[in-house]
């Protein structure tokens, strides 16, 4: 059966069908991400002072990934334009770069950014014990400067068994710079280049800890929203890469030989989805990495 209106416009809509289809789908996607973003806004506005962390993510890596996604948005629109101008080889090159960009983006997320978080430890100190850990928190200094207080001590956990073993009574942590030198004015605001954990070891009594865990989704509201939204976004990137790969393979060439405009339209529709994924990232990046 021949699918109608793949290249010619349907008279009542003035558009070929897939174009209407993808925009309806993107409309539903706006609501999907809209729901998650509005939850983010709600959770963040209601977070007590100092509870919403800053500077936990790697900004240069996030910026690089943003640039990669923008580059792929340019190349995918160039791939479409090449097909419109009936240049199959150029299409293959541009589409190949787009696919590569998508894979790099995902690799950086899954092989570098996320595992690094899973390997990072943080302990929220009980209200009554904050004074005891003042040398690591520097809350007097922060109060003097009118800044929100710190309640978490973070770094590299030496004794992982402490997470599960109840007989281990304390956490042994190689401190992050912010907790190693909390009254240093340089630590008042997040850094562009991430600082490695220090040699300074702190022993934190489990009895003083409200809650402690690795930087997993359950660690805090911040990480729960971060992993949910970037996870869903990552799945969209994966979906886009799979569709692009399909259109890039010989199947695409076969369609091009039969009806080049049909392939161009498929690429346009897949490209619209890809631009939307880029558009979501434009909001994700500052909200989670920078602010």
């Amino acid at each position: 059966m021949e699918i109608p209106y793949t290249v010619t416009a349907r008279p009542d809509t003035g558009l070929w069908n897939a174009k209407v289809g993808i925009w309806l789908f993107l409309a539903s996607e706006v609501m999907l991400f809209g729901g998650l973003f509005s939850s983010y806004v709600f959770l963040r506005l209601d977070a007590p002072p100092g509870a919403w962390p800053h500077g936990l993510l790697n900004v240069p890596v996030g910026t690089g990934n943003t640039a990669i996604l923008i580059l792929s948005s340019v190349t995918v629109v160039m791939a479409w334009a090449s097909l419109k101008m009936r240049q199959l080889t150029r299409y293959k090159v541009y589409m190949g770069i787009t696919i590569l960009c998508g894979i790099i983006f995902l690799a950086v997320k899954l092989a570098y950014e996320w595992p690094q978080k899973f390997d990072h430890f943080g302990a929220f100190i009980k209200q009554e014990a904050l004074e005891k850990y003042e040398p690591y928190l520097g809350n007097h200094h922060l109060a003097e400067r009118g800044l929100p207080p710190r309640t978490e001590i973070s770094g590299h956990l030496h004794n992982h068994e402490a997470l599960h073993d109840e007989t281990v009574k304390e956490y042994e942590v190689a401190l992050d710079p912010v907790n190693a030198d909390p009254t240093n004015p340089l630590m008042d605001r997040p850094h562009f280049l991430p600082l490695a954990h220090t040699d300074k070891i702190a022993t934190i009594d489990k009895a003083d800890v409200e809650y402690a865990n690795m930087f997993l989704p359950k660690h805090s509201t911040y990480f729960a929203t971060y992993f949910t939204i970037t996870g869903l976004h990552g799945m969209h990137v994966l979906g886009g890469v799979l569709v692009f790969t399909y259109l890039w393979l010989p199947v695409g060439t076969k369609l091009y030989k039969r009806n080049p405009e049909h392939l161009a339209n498929r690429v346009e529709v897949a490209g619209l989805f890809w631009h939307f994924v880029d558009l979501v990232w434009i909001f994700v990046f500052p909200l989670f990495y920078l602010l």
Binding site: T8, D12, M31, S38, T63, L71, A81, F285, P286
Partner: protein, 122 residues
């Protein structure tokens, strides 16, 4: 929706009438836009740098910093939508879909605002 055309007739008509000339026209049209695509890509990367730089500037309150970053992000998103997604010249049908989308997504954020402001128990 209310056009009297027979859709099949219309399709064959456009397909035969303007295949060759339409193709040439489209190719010429597209080549004109390529410069714009590259320029928009560069602008987006520059503004990513600006967003990062502005996040280290203290605008007084954290809320002000968020507002500035969202303003830049909205500008970037607008560029993507208008140039890359061809919204600068789309058919009316697409705008109709998007008007509903904008209405409902704003409604969604308004609900969030109501829940946070909590006018009933506050």
């Amino acid at each position: 929706m209310d056009q009297p055309h027979d859709p099949l007739m219309a399709e064959t008509a456009t397909a035969t009438a303007g295949e060759a000339s339409h193709d040439e026209h489209a190719a010429h049209d597209v080549s004109k836009h390529i410069r714009a695509y590259v320029l928009v890509g560069l602008t987006l990367i520059v503004f990513t740098g600006i967003t990062v730089a502005l996040s280290y500037v203290n605008f007084g309150t954290q809320k002000a910093n968020v507002a500035v970053a969202m303003l830049v992000a909205t500008f970037k998103a607008g560029l993507v939508a208008v140039i890359f997604m061809h919204l600068s010249s789309e058919k009316r049908m697409i705008y109709r879909i998007l008007i509903f989308t904008v209405f409902f997504v704003l409604g969604l954020f308004f609900l969030t605002y109501l829940a946070w402001y909590d006018p009933i128990t506050r």
